[in-house]
């Protein structure tokens, strides 16, 4: 037992001193979460809009205040030409121009005063949002100018729908992907140790093979727990992803998923004779798993042929199970089927590795 624990500690030291291993297991999944999280979560959807005041009246100043007080809107002031140029460069999503004489027209009330709005019709969503913003602000200004209270208004009530937000979908998926990488990357140090004759040297000591394998697996399970805490923590802290599931169930799934992919790593190590070929083989296995297992979008939205492939991949079931248990995601397969698939996968990989793995 002492030997097993000392070897586990040695493995953890070797792991944490290996920059490539650290990057792939810890940094890489966080990059995905921060990248996709910032793009899709609505955490930062501030719109920058140009505002050119050619009128300089009290009315134009009121209008600027009204726009500036809108949530998620940032106003940039400059000349009209300058702002349009900035918009062409993609720095602004729209430009508002208050023409000279705007205030006088409002005061005389002879005709509706007009402001000019530049939008890009190709950017449908941005254009719609601009119209919505301008309509809302002008409606409020018009209504205030009329001096009467609004006739109709509404209150808002939030409801959690069955559809997961993208980030809630992503966090358990990325956890599954990280466990997959952690597992299959076990092949690389294993093959390196064999190639450097370290496995042979260990065989000349009283250390038993089960202790050697046990310490490697234990090391990876410990790192899997650390990964889970980091990924769930980042999801909760930065993107408000609430993990609602039972921690014991989540823990068991993390362990089962790790074991299934560590077993796959041992299969790779059984057929790779050099560290380079182990590197190549893990890449060949890793990328289809990453992109065809519904990590970034549900497999329901895939073409039929790819969906059939996805149904044969273990990461599909691990991701599915983690989403079901952690964030109440819609199941593609019942939980028992996910667990059964992973158990069968583990047993088959273990059998193949036991048959073909060479120690020297």
């Amino acid at each position: 037992m002492r030997a097993l624990l000392r070897l586990t500690v040695a493995n953890i030291k070797s792991f944490t001193r290996d920059r490539a291993a650290l990057f792939w297991t810890l940094a890489f999944p966080l990059i995905f979460i921060f990248l996709f999280g910032s793009i899709f979560s609505g955490g930062n959807n501030d719109r920058t809009i140009g505002f050119a005041d050619l009128d300089k009246s009290t009315h134009s100043a009121e209008l600027r205040t009204a726009f500036a007080s809108q949530p998620n809107v940032k106003l940039v002031e400059a000349s009209e030409d300058d702002l349009v140029a900035q918009m062409r460069d993609g720095k602004l999503s729209a430009v508002l121009v208050v023409p000279a004489g705007f205030g006088a027209t409002v005061d005389t009330k002879t005709a509706p005063a007009t402001i000019k709005v530049y939008t890009d019709p190709a950017q449908t969503a941005a254009q719609g949002a601009t119209f919505q913003l301008v309509g809302g602000v002008l409606g409020a200004v018009n209504q205030a100018a009329s001096g009467r209270p609004p006739a109709v208004t509404f209150t808002n009530q939030a409801v959690q729908t069955q559809d997961l937000s993208f980030i809630s979908y992503l966090v358990p998926s990325i956890l599954g992907m990280s466990l997959m990488q952690l597992g299959i990357f076990s092949a690389i140090p294993l093959v390196a140790d064999r190639q450097k004759h370290i496995l042979k040297r260990l065989q000349a000591t009283p250390l038993r093979r089960w202790q050697l394998v046990g310490s490697n697996v234990l090391m990876r399970l410990i790192i899997a727990v650390v990964q889970t805490v980091i990924i769930v923590g980042v999801g909760a802290t930065f993107f408000h992803v609430e993990v609602s599931g039972n921690w014991l169930t989540i823990g068991l799934l993390v362990v089962l998923g790790s074991l299934a992919f560590i077993a796959l790593g041992y299969v790779i190590a059984s057929f790779a004779s050099t560290e380079e070929s182990a590197n190549g083989m893990t890449s060949v296995v890793q990328f289809p798993l990453m992109f065809l297992s519904g990590t970034f979008f549900p497999i329901d939205s895939m073409p039929d042929a790819l969906r059939t492939v996805a149904r044969a991949l273990p990461l599909t079931y691990l991701g599915d199970a983690l989403r079901q248990v952690m964030v109440g995601g819609t199941a593609f397969s019942p939980l028992w089927l996910c667990v059964a698939f992973l158990v069968v996968w583990l047993v088959v990989c273990f059998g193949i590795a036991a048959r073909f793995f060479r120690w020297q």
Binding site: R6, A10, D18, K196, H197, K200, A204, P206, L207
Partner: protein, 329 residues
């Protein structure tokens, strides 16, 4: 875990008093007609020898002679095709696990975890054994004090080799296998390792080492076996091996154009003529007569003999005589 109590019943009469191992009669290694082939290659082709307790025994031969394969069978790391192998009274082929706590092994290529430091690797290997020597003692013994906290990937070849030998000693083994231990070492480190080996011997431990350095074999080995092409050509003490073959001394000088072997064979006392790396070796019973003839002959050709020297025959000469080629090309 393998039982390791050295006083254990049935284990024989091995008892340890302080750091001395009290020796029992009988060899620590007995090999009978060992054979191992890889396809068409007969890596080990019928090898037999014995190593006595407290002895330093050397397997001497060029690369590819079968030394490493032989040693790895004895360490329980390879299965031979046939042959009997008894190590410390244990059948190393059938029950290698009974052996592992009692032997120390340094492989031909130092096998070290690259990201761990010297002390971490020693502590790790120490944890595999129920008893052994303190890490600090081994660090000092192998002169690795300045490298205690260096990762093994940053060690020089000679330092790695020293650490590999230190690892072979963590369990304070009765029998130590050192496969080409001084490869890559500078002369000072090599001499330090020789002291370590002689120290093991003086405390009653047995050592089997392989080498292709003649000087090393002559200094360290009580007995040795010369291997080539998977066979033992001859074995014995250095003196036995040399005197069995050469009663003569060797007169050596750089080859001289126009002075042929046939003529030199006729010089006074010359028993045989050999060539080694561009030099001529005349094995002779009459050193002054031979030298006189060499000087007279070269004078007649109008040249002076270069690097003229006299020496006793060495293992190198034995190897040359046995195989027809020098040990290191």
């Amino acid at each position: 875990m393998t039982p390791t109590s050295q006083q254990g019943p049935g284990r024989g009469t091995i008892a340890r008093m302080s750091s001395q191992i009290q020796t029992a009669a009988g060899p620590v290694i007995r090999v009978r007609d060992l054979r191992k082939s890889y396809g068409q290659l007969h890596a080990v082709d019928g090898v037999s020898f014995e190593v006595e307790r407290g002895e330093v025994f050397g397997l001497l031969g060029p690369n590819g002679a079968g030394k490493t394969t032989t040693v790895e069978v004895l360490e329980g790391l390879r299965k031979p095709d046939s042959g009997e192998v008894s190590v410390l009274g244990v059948d190393a082929v059938r029950s290698p696990d009974q052996l592992k706590a009692r032997i120390g092994v340094s492989l031909q290529t130092a096998a070290l975890y690259p990201k761990l430091t010297v002390v971490e690797v020693l502590d790790l290997f120490r944890s595999f054994y129920p008893s052994g020597r303190p890490t600090s003692e081994l660090v000092e013994l192998m002169d690795l004090g300045e490298k205690r906290t260096t990762r093994t990937q940053d060690l020089s070849g000679g330092q790695r080799q020293r650490l590999s030998v230190a690892l072979a000693l963590v369990n304070d083994p009765e029998l130590v296998f050192l496969d080409e231990p001084t490869t890559g070492m500078d002369p000072a480190a090599r001499r330090m390792l020789w002291d370590v080996v002689l120290g093991l011997k003086s405390s009653g431990r047995s050592v089997l080492l392989t080498t292709h350095y003649m000087e090393e074999a002559e200094i360290l080995c009580d007995r040795l076996a010369i291997m080539d092409h998977g066979r033992i050509l001859e074995s014995g003490t250095v003196d036995e091996l040399v005197s069995r073959r050469f009663h003569e001394r060797a007169v050596r000088f750089d080859a001289i154009d126009g002075l042929g072997d046939a003529r030199m064979a006729g010089f006074p006392g010359v028993a045989s003529v050999k060539h080694e790396n561009g030099a001529v070796l005349l094995f002779t019973r009459d050193v002054p007569g031979t030298i006189g003839a060499v000087l007279a002959a070269s004078d007649g050709l109008g040249v002076e003999p270069v690097s003229l020297a006299v020496r006793r025959a060495t293992l190198e000469d034995v190897f040359l005589d046995l195989t027809g080629r020098a040990l290191r090309d």
